[in-house]
Amino acid sequence: MAFSWRVRQKTFFAESDIEFEQDQRIIDWLDSSKKTWVYGETYFNDKLDLTKDAKNAEQALVFVKTLMNIKTVEYLCKPLIDIPRVCVAINKFLLYTTEVNNVAEDYNQALFDFIQHIFKNRKIDYYYLSEDNGTYFNYASPTTQFFIT
């Protein structure tokens, strides 16, 4: 049986029933009773009331953990701007652009500005690691997260 990298990493530790902090934050934030549209991750499926129809979703979760052009992220998020609660979790190592963009020099600030530009006039709680040295399981579970209400 093939295990996901997230499941395999959990077996490395003596502690049982661990949840990565960034996953736990998403679990705590999402409301399991609301109709949820999800992109890019199946890990949370059994904790959510899933819908395939983004237009009728009450909340949404977008997971970016594959190599992705920043324009694709924008394309994915734009249809979600009217959903009351949206979580966008991004592995920031996996984004790319094909042209120089006029954005903030600081990557974390530029990412925040990017999400704020899509979800205008919304409250955004932002979590990120300023020094990500690969010890936070971020290839299994993105550590840069936006919670939009």
Partner: protein, 190 residues
């Protein structure tokens, strides 16, 4: 939660999983070890640079190519020692980020060229740290051949395309020869 906050199980199984996931040549060797290791164009390129030289492959599992170059010596992180101890020409060292460790390695093995093949040492670092590390190693070893994956380099990925990043690395390392490779790969020879 950082994995260092938890109690990592010190079993061979965990060491194997961690090492395999971070060392692509070990992954390939495990998959093909009962056959001849298949090389691709990038392997050929790196092996061309090391041909007829005493090469030292650090944190890269150079042993994968030992059938093509019997002179390859591998230096691996000490956490993998128990797992790799029966394989010939592999030596383990503690802190592979420490210049003193490299001084000792250079003195002991006297390599003509040092290879880093997608090594963890060149992951999760900024461009300036990458430059600093390359220059520090170049002060110790006579020649370096470093194959990195730019995906793992920490820079503003929504501001700069890969070409700009390569240009910046070239400006920081004017004496190096850079070659862009498929899938965000970059070969640095200095």
């Amino acid at each position: 939660m950082n994995y260092k906050d938890l109690s990592l199980i010190g079993s061979i199984r965990v060491q194997y999983s961690l090492y395999k996931s971070t060392h692509p040549l070990f992954q390939r060797w495990m998959r093909q070890r009962h056959k001849t290791i298949q090389k691709d164009d990038i392997d050929d390129l790196v092996l061309e640079y090391t041909r007829d030289k005493k090469s030292l492959w650090i944190d890269s599992f150079g042993h994968c190519f030992s059938k093509y170059d019997q002179k390859i010596i591998s230096i691996e992180p000490v956490f993998a020692q128990a797992m790799l101890k029966t394989i010939p020409n592999i030596f383990c060292r503690g802190d592979l980020q420490n210049p003193d460790t490299h001084q000792e390695i250079a003195k002991t093995f006297n390599p003509e060229i040092v290879v880093y093949f997608k090594s963890t040492i060149f992951k999760y670092i900024t461009i300036s740290k990458l430059t600093e590390n390359v220059l520090a190693l170049r002060n110790i070893y006579p020649a370096l051949c470093i194959y990195i994956d730019l995906q793992f380099i920490n820079y503003n990925k929504i501001k700069y395309p890969v070409n700009n990043v390569i240009q910046q690395i070239q400006e920081n390392l004017p004496s190096a020869t850079l070659k862009r490779l498929p899938l965000n790969g970059l070969l640095i020879n200095i």
